[in-house]
Each structure stands twice: as C-alpha cells, then as structure tokens.
Amino acid sequence: MIPAIEVKDVSFGQNGNLILDRVSLSVMEGDMYALIGPNGGGKTTLLKIILGLIPARTGTVTIFGRSPRQGREMVGYVPQFRTFDFRYPLTVREMVLSGRLSHIRGVLRRYRGEDHAATREVLQRLDLTGISDRTLSHLSGGEQQRAILARALVGNPRVLILDEPTVYIDTPTAFEFFDILEDLKRSMTILLVSHDIGVISRHVTKVACLNHTLHTHNTPEITEDMIAATYHCPVDLIAHGLPHRVFGDHEGREDQ
C-alpha cells in the first residue's frame, strides 16, 4: 500500500540551525495523523516541505507516490489562522471558489461550471450557504474557520493538511470543528499540526511528537518517552494532566 504522505529522512536547516533532523513519517490512507510539539520545533516547516512550498535539504517527500508538486491536486490545505488579511474584499463564495484554481489549467484559469457546482456543494456541506455572500470580516470565528476549510475541500482532496486549525477559536467551537473533521476522516486522510492535545486526542489515529527530531509509535498514544524526548521536560506536561488522560482505546491499528 502506498502511503498517502511519506516523508523519508528529511532534513532542513536555516541560518545554521538544524530545524528538521532526518525526519521520517508515513501517513497511511485513512489516518488522522496529529503532529504535536513545541513552538519552533519544525512542525510548520515540515508541513511546508510536504506542500512543496520549500524544498527539503535532504530526503524525499511523496504524496501517494508522487512529488509534492505533482501531488498538489490531491491536497487540501488549511493554513494557520490569520495568515491573510480578513479585511480583503472577498465573499465567502469567492474565497471557496478560488480553491478550485489548482484544478484549472491554461494561462487564463477561467472558472467552469463544474467549479461553481463544487463550490455550491461544499458551501452546503459546511453549512455556509446562508452566509456565502458575506465577507470574511463579517463572520464569527467558527464560520471563518469553516470557510477556510471549505476552500481546502472544494478541490475534493484525498489528503487534508491543517496547521494549528483551532488556535484562534474558543473551545466549544474547536470541538465542533473537530466533529466536522471526524466526519471527513471517512473520506480522506488527514494530517494536522496542533498543540491542542486535549481536543485532538479523541479523534486521531496516530500521534507523532516533533522537536527537530520526530518521535512516534504510530499509535494514537502519546507516551512519556515521546514527551520526554520531545519536550525535554516531561514533568511540566504531566502537570497539565495531558498524557494518558483520554487515550483509553485505540482501535488496535498499528502499522508496523
């Protein structure tokens, strides 16, 4: 079986600092794979390498066996919240529609009937139809996040990549958002970066900890040795009551 995302021995450095040190991971089809770790540990950098936005210094990344560039049509991406200007004059419908551009070839990249149809469908699915003529600045935080998710989904991706999707929304809204992801999990592979271990834990099938090097058992459990290796500070995290709290059953899915 070809992994949905395969990262092999990827290293990346910037200004003499090694940000990623021989990182390898395999996200299998149907996984909901969570990447956790401290700020500056390289999570976003790894996502950008997987998306083909920056080249890895060494190592390879494949998406269903293809290079990140060739695999782009199969990938939906939810960037970190507030990476763009919410006051941009753009309706929700226009924003979602723009997510179809990766499927449109040619110099002009004109939208076709099927692009509008796909947009209507995804707006309906994420309960955005009633507010599709509003601009982003006139939506609530949860609606904004659903609109950004809709843009990622409108291209019918096989892999959905999310970078800290719930940072700027309140906890009840975050739980609602993860219910949507839980629903999407049946039809696509999901890779997400999060520090919100409490919310993600009920949903994920695998967890990896990344702090320059990657630690995982390819299970949904965060174990003390992973935490220790990642944060070099296990006591602090356990004091937050995080490991082992909600990881009761984990479906016995182990990919070794």
């Binding site: 936005l53 960037p79 990476t83 941009y88 004059p89 723009s98 551009l101 601009t135 006139h138």
Partner: protein, 270 residues
C-alpha cells in the same frame, strides 16, 4: 473661469481625458496596492520615477519615456531582490525612494540648459497635459485593463493569500512581478496629472475609501474608479475656481473624501 465654452478648448478636453484615464488605472491598480499592502513599495517606485525623468533630460529622451523605462526596471529590481535575496522590504524601499530622487537631481544638474517643466513632473498639472501624452496614457491604460481583465482571478488569489496561491501552483512569482510593473505603469501615467510627489495619494486614497464600502474586489475597483473621477474632475474645477495648483487640490479633495468616509466604513479604520 469655467464657462460653457470651455469644453471647446483642447487643453480642457485633454485635462478631462487625463482625469478619466488616471482614474481608471488608479482605481484598478490602486485597489491591488491597498489590499496587498503595497503602499510603501509603490511610494518608492513613484519617487524613483524622478530618476527616470532626470535620465530623460540628460540623454535627450522624452522624460516620461525615461520615467517609464526606469520605473519599470526599478519595480522589477525590487521584486527580484525581495524574492531572491530575502532583503528587508522596508530598507529596499527607502533606498530606491531616495536613490531614485538623487539620480534625478544629478542628471538634471548635468543636463545642458534649464529644465523648464521640471516643476510639472514633481507636482503635476492636469491642465498642461499635451495630446501626445494623452495618447500614451490611453495606450498604457489599455494595457493595464487588458492584463487585469485576463488575470483577474489569479491576481485576486495571489493578493489575497500568496501562500495558498503557491500551494495551488499558480505562477506567484511572475504575477507578483507583474503587479509591480502594473504599479510602475500607473505611476508614470499619473505623473502628468498629480506629479511624482503626490502620485501615491491618488493611487491609494480612492481605493482605500472604496474598500470600506465594497464586498468584492471588483466592486472596490469600480467604486474606486468613480471616486478617482470625482476627485480629479472636482479638483480640476476647484483649482481653476480658486486659481490654485490642480495636483495638490485633487490630492486634498481625495484626502478629505477618505477622512469623511471613515466613520461610515463597513470594516472600520483599523
């Protein structure tokens, strides 16, 4: 001052045409400048145009043609340096801003004779735009309209969320460079109307005002063009009524319009 017969004067027809063409390109390109936060880079590009005017004097080329070549080169230079060298944009802009003016000053001091209409390049005079410049403005405006019409969706994607545009494999680098060149073209068109020093205001104020009342980029552009027309023709009328410089009057009118609009803006002033 302005009587019913004034429309028959060629200088006045030219002034109206110049105002119309300037408003069109300003409204459209200015909208990108505002939403993409390219205001300071556009200020740098417009002041660098003075270097082109000076080079034109020195080498006996039409100063506007000089400004066109030089400004386009500067815009491309900024774009490439920003992309490749990862230079701090603020510093680049400051360097280009001052160096462009410096090149202009030195060239003009070296050029033989006296530069009689230098003042009009710096501050503009919509009443003194010659017919030949109107033709050039019309051609440039046509180029701007055509490119924006053809690339509208892609330019929207790039100006809204550059990273996502890259993920979708759009030619982001080329489109960003093109946008800078479009800014350069627009700046050169506006030199005759409001002058190098005031260009940035006409490029940004109508668009910034329009953004407060627009749900889409297209409506922002359309509204911005209308505002540009009101400001430039209103400024033209006021300046001849009060016998004061037209370029400065247009800018003050645009500024007043912007300030008055702020309390009614749907997105607030922040």
């Amino acid at each position: 001052m302005i009587g019913p017969g004034i429309l028959e004067y060629e200088f006045f027809q030219n002034a109206l045409l110049a105002g119309l063409l300037a408003s069109l390109s300003c409204g459209i390109i200015g909208s990108y400048v505002v939403v993409k936060r390219m205001v300071s880079i556009s200020g740098g590009i417009s002041h660098a145009a003075f270097g082109g005017v000076g080079l034109g004097y020195l080498f006996g080329v039409d100063p506007l043609a000089g400004a066109f070549g030089f400004t386009t080169a500067v815009a491309l230079g900024i774009g490439v340096l920003k992309e490749k060298a990862g230079q701090n944009l603020d510093t680049l802009v400051a360097a280009v801003w001052a160096a462009g003016m410096a090149v202009g000053i030195i060239c003009i001091s070296l050029a033989p004779g006296y530069a009689p209409d230098l003042f009009s390049y710096l501050f503009g005079n919509i009443l003194l735009v010659p017919r030949s410049d109107i033709v050039m403005m019309a051609v440039l405006c046509g180029v701007v309209l055509l490119l924006v019409a053809v690339l509208y969706t892609q330019l929207q994607a790039v100006t809204f969320d550059e990273e996502y545009a890259r993920v979708m494999d759009l030619p982001v680098t080329w489109l960003s460079l093109l946008l800078l060149v479009l800014v350069a073209i627009t700046v050169v068109m506006l030199i005759r109307v409001v002058g190098i020093i005031l260009v940035i205001a006409l490029l940004t104020l109508p668009a910034a005002t329009a953004r407060g009342f627009s749900k889409t980029l297209f409506s922002m552009m359309a509204f911005s063009v209308c505002l540009g027309l009101v400001f430039s023709l209103g400024g033209l009328w006021l300046s001849s009524l009060l016998d004061i410089p037209s370029g400065a009057t247009i800018i003050l009118l645009a500024t007043a319009g912007y300030v008055i609009s702020l309390p009614f803006s749907r997105i607030g002033s922040g």
